[in-house]
């Protein structure tokens, strides 16, 4: 007999598909206009205590406007699926200061780092303080958990995590394959309460296109009970219907559509604009000193009404033109 182990980490969300079915049954499926300002979307669809999913890949195609608005609206005790979260994680952990807890629990695959750019001092302080409950996973594990939820099944088996402390600190379980008798890891379905996804194009109903890698957003949108879309631009439903195979997220998954041009700034938006590395460095440096960071956040987030003003502070359309030239590999002007 092979002994089967269970991870010892907390399972933050109920993986039961019948529970989720009862919710999805009542979700709006008709084509209704869901366009609204980010402020309204966040106030309506993100509640204290909710568990969030963040689309894109950390600093690429992220819903910056919605993330900032969550900070501004001082949401509390949120959970997060931390599957390669980088700048998005930085933004959210900025809400964990002065004893306040924007984040209270995180499923971790990749946090506190910004890939080649280094580690976030503030996110590390927060994570090292022990104030956030955590459970360990991998990028693929979290992708599978979204996939299981999107499929309406309570788990998906995989062959990662086995034999490691990552498994031990997770809420996964070992199982035996009924066909091959091989040991597998069972990854429980993860249904976020709400996810924030930035896309290239959406119609007013929430039918979305993504012109690039989808990362896990096809599954994330389907797995989430509520979805806030921010989009570079709104396109006509006629346009969507002219090429239905280009639709990645269907409208019946979506609750709010917010038109936010340049909405992934300071992150990269494939084909549109590159990341603003200088601003990301400024953010990282500000984090070195708590007081300085407080001022930085006031200046860029708390003291501005919305993302458009933040963008203006960061250089506005001129800055975007620069980043656009970089993205498109245009020859630099001498």
């Amino acid at each position: 007999m092979t002994e089967l182990f269970s991870g010892t980490g907390p399972l933050f969300m109920n993986p039961d598909p019948d529970d989720a079915r009862s919710f999805f049954k009542k979700k709006e499926k008709a084509l209704v206009n869901k366009v609204m300002p980010v402020k309204e979307a966040v106030s309506k669809f993100v509640k204290d205590g909710d568990y969030l999913g963040s689309g894109g890949f950390g600093s690429n195609r992220i819903a910056t406007a919605a993330l900032h608005e969550i900070l501004r609206q001082k949401k509390r005790n949120l959970g997060l699926a931390g599957h390669t979260t980088t700048h998005d994680f930085q933004i959210l952990t900025a809400g964990n200061m002065d004893g306040e807890k924007l984040l209270s629990r995180v499923d971790v695959a990749y946090i506190v780092g910004l890939e080649a750019r280094g580690l976030s001092p503030h996110a590390r302080r927060v994570m090292q303080s022990g104030e956030i409950e955590i459970c360990e996973w991998t990028n693929y594990a979290i992708a599978c958990r979204f996939r299981a939820a999107a499929s309406g099944i309570p788990f998906i088996p995989a062959r990662n995590m086995l034999g490691t402390d990552t498994f031990f600190q997770s809420a996964a379980k070992e199982i035996l394959c009924p066909f091959t008798d091989r040991k597998l890891v069972a990854l429980p379905a993860l249904y976020p309460d709400v996810s924030l996804i930035h896309v290239h194009e959406s119609d007013v109903y929430g039918n979305c296109r993504i012109n690039g890698i989808t990362v896990a957003d096809g599954d994330l949108a389907r797995a989430s009970k509520r979805v806030i879309i921010t989009t570079e631009k709104i396109i006509s439903n006629d346009d969507i219907r002219s090429k239905p195979w280009a639709t990645i997220i269907p409208s019946y998954c979506v609750d709010a559509v917010c038109e936010v041009p340049y909405g992934s700034y300071p992150g990269n938006m494939p084909g549109e604009y590159f990341s603003d590395e200088a601003h990301l460095v400024e953010w990282l440096r500000a984090e070195n000193d708590v007081e300085k960071f407080r001022q930085f956040l006031d200046k860029y987030i708390y003291d501005v009404p919305d993302f458009e003003h933040y963008l203006e502070l960061c250089g506005g359309v001129e800055k975007i033109k620069e980043l656009r030239a970089q993205e498109l590999l245009l020859p630099r002007k001498e």
Binding site: G113, A143, R159, G163, I213, V215, A216, D219
Partner: protein, 255 residues
Amino acid sequence: MSDYNAIELMICVAARLLEDGSTVGVGTGAPCAAAMLAQRTNAPNLLITFEAGGIAPQLPSMPISVGDSRTFYRGLMATSMSDILETCQRGLVDYTFLGGAQIDAYGNINSTVIGDYHKPKVRFPGSGGANDFASFCWHTLVITQHDIRRFVKKLDFLTTPGYLNGPGAREKAGLPENSGPLKIITDLAVMGFDETTKRMRVESLHSGVTFEKVQENTEFELLKSPEITDTEPPQDEELRILREEVDPFRYVIGR
């Protein structure tokens, strides 16, 4: 031109390990540089994938993120993270490159915490896709600095599987058969793994480095390959391509 730094050396050594016609899942930095160099030297048909969804881009420059738009610039496909990692899980990806805060004698890697997990001295990012790649790809390659705090007897946290605790352990744990770490490339030496014990062994020493020096910088006992060779230094042509074509702004190789 035969002057080179440690990172250039590691990249050149790593590039030579990649067989032509094979596939590799890479991250940013040195691994990506190694793959790009290999494509321009010994492995023109190397297929590069990135975990966030990019397949076979014609990389115009070094990516900053494994999910930025460079990673699928003029690629063959821009897909999902699941598709990439399932291509690995299905057995189509030969190599992956990893780094980490700590590595042990079996090639297991820690990129999660230093200190106690629940009260960490230092919190690192965690697995990301590292555990996935190292579980699924046939061969894991590591590029890292060689020092005694990194090459440790016991990891504070086993994030990513090497050979776990020895021969047969990966298979017993349920990981895919015949996969595991292949080479560890440091600024001192190139190490492989003893076939019987699956423990790390020194296979070649970089110019001017002795086995003793490598051992001094390693907390666990290193084995010796039956024949320890001298690491072949970077050739002029490799360095030229690396410096002029792969990393002209010296993001990775430094100044």
